[in-house]
Subunit: 153 residues, 2 copies
Amino acid sequence: MPELDAIDRKILSYLQNDSRLTMQELADKVGLSVSPCHRRVKLLEERGVISRYIATVDQKALGLHVSVFISIKLARQKEEDLNRFARAISKWDEVLECYLMTGNRDYLLRVVAADLASYETFLKTKLTRLDGIASIESSFALSQVKYSIALPV
Amino acid sequence: MPELDAIDRKILSYLQNDSRLTMQELADKVGLSVSPCHRRVKLLEERGVISRYIATVDQKALGLHVSVFISIKLARQKEEDLNRFARAISKWDEVLECYLMTGNRDYLLRVVAADLASYETFLKTKLTRLDGIASIESSFALSQVKYSIALPV
DNA sequence: GCCGATATTGGGATATTTTACCAATCGAAA
DNA sequence: TTTCGATTGGTAAAATATCCCAATATCGGC
């Protein structure tokens, strides 16, 4: 796999912030003409460096006022148990992020909900119904100080 | 502000997953013709429901193998202290997310780095140089089980 | 249930943008 | 300098977005 050169990195950093730039605009910003710029973008897509193009939606506009971090410990940590948990989590739209962690908890989840009532519903009808969970601890976010998808390039 | 109807929500859910759909494709999926579909998308953009269009980049492809969650307590929690912290955090590209939390910590950060050495550099040259921090606790993610930007609509 | 006012839709024409092709240029090694 | 491979830039064709206007649907009051 070929390395990313300075121009590739520039392209990535611009597209991470605005994927609606036209090829002409992007080419100007990175100092190329349209053709080679277009070819580089296509290559980055084919190699999977650029994985998708998406629209970001305002959480408040959707009425999702609650963000919760949930620490979870499983009763057992065999691969089979971890996989079963991962499969269940992946199905639920409320769970935006889930990480397998080091230290004294197994998983860390970020969950969004409209309000406390619907978060409670999520807990009661989904999370706590899973087998093999030893403990659940919720921490609520008062506000989102920073939220970015743009990786440092 | 007008409510989002079923078609608006369909539009959002498709565009959250793939913003490169053509208007024709999107219109077919939501059951409209191109014109009204296009008008709805533009309105969603103007109202700020759709906030941006971005490319997502593969973290591994950039060599960012370390994801860390950092819990931070400040020495004082006056508004002035919180603002100063927020401003500093916002400048740093390594910090992808930052939340003001309830409970026994003040902030929760998600940080990415190439490896443990560069994470250590981040800590030493940036985070620990901030005034007013009472405690820092890092938890490392072993793997990303789920990562989505698509809010439930 | 009917009517009018208002908002929403669909089709078609036009402007923009993407995409593919090919010749020109650049860079490295002999 | 010469040659080879990779990268670039321009151009033209195809695909797509965007705008306008007439037709249709929706919702209020009567």
